[in-house]
Symmetry: C2
Subunit: 190 residues, 2 copies
């Protein structure tokens, strides 16, 4: 377990930290095949620019139930077709473990859903935090024009299950239609 | 356990939240008898104004190991004699549980120590977070001129042990001497 206190400095605007272990975890359009509804648009964007969709700064906390994993998540502004840039989203391996996210800058939605069909999509701006209960998949979606930056905490041993979402997708999508942000059904959800 | 996601809004400058259950937990000078070195100065200040030393906004999360307790802590600027305003400080009842604090505004020190005599006193300003490992008592100390506001997270069942500090005190004090912030030994430590 961790024996000694330590301080980590984050830029509260960008979410960057020089204290995080390198390399930083980055997800580009090439890392997100088949995760957006309009796969053809994503593939064309990957071909032309392969933009950075999101990145996160984590500290490599030991995976023990007494520790707390933490870091910042930065989701960049952009769209694939009508769908906003987002993170892959995950459940926790220790399924019942909760997670907190406090928004440090930007504007986004925490898109959440359960295996039995409940969902929620609250908007976060600086000072708002969301409590993601155990058993809820969660994904950050940037609906603004600046980076959407959150500071997150979860139990050290909670782990990540990305595979379920990669396979099944999300029931809901966050899209822009007629200049408005809308939550719509995912026609490709399995 | 918590079944439904929820959003809590904090003012990132003041730490206040209209979403927190009332009454808010407040600690005035009258709640901190014998916690500052200069007890006579504290008693005189209690008599004249009984200033608010700190308060915290918590959500009443169920005390389960899968949940995360969170909230904001606001320590106000001020001194008792040469000693800066501070929180009582605590260990966790589940002794090995860690806690994270990210500074939202102001300037303070997280004063930490272990039963076997280790100590640490890092300075926090906005964007800096401190990892308080399991087994370390921790206390917020305001060394600035504005409220020192932090957002904290700890495991839902970690609990608080205030009694040890109330009885023994801290080994170290944070004082102002000659216009400088200094960490000094506590002559009254038991």
């Amino acid at each position: 377990m961790i024996q000694q206190p330590f301080v980590v400095t984050f830029d509260p605007k960008t979410g960057f930290s020089d204290d995080a272990p390198k390399p930083i975890s980055q997800r580009r359009l090439s890392n997100m095949r088949n995760m957006f509804l309009d796969e053809a648009a994503r593939a064309a964007m990957e071909e032309s620019e392969n933009a950075l969709v999101y990145e996160f700064f984590e500290m490599g906390i030991p995976d023990l139930a007494t520790e707390l994993a933490f870091g910042t998540s930065i989701c960049y502004p952009g769209k694939v077709g009508e769908e906003f840039f987002m993170t892959k989203g995950h459940f926790h391996e220790v399924f019942d473990c909760a997670e907190t996210y406090i928004c440090l800058s930007g504007k986004g939605i925490m898109l959440m859903e359960t295996p039995d069909g409940k969902w929620a999509a609250p908007v976060l701006t600086p000072g708002k935090m969301v409590y993601v209960p155990g058993g809820w998949a969660h994904r950050s979606v940037n609906i603004g024009s600046e980076p959407f930056v959150t500071f997150f905490n979860f139990r050290g041993d909670a782990g990540h299950d990305y595979a379920t979402i990669e396979e099944k997708g999300y029931r809901k999508l966050v899209v822009e239609r007629g200049g408005k942000v809308e939550i719509v059904d995912n026609p490709r959800w399995k």
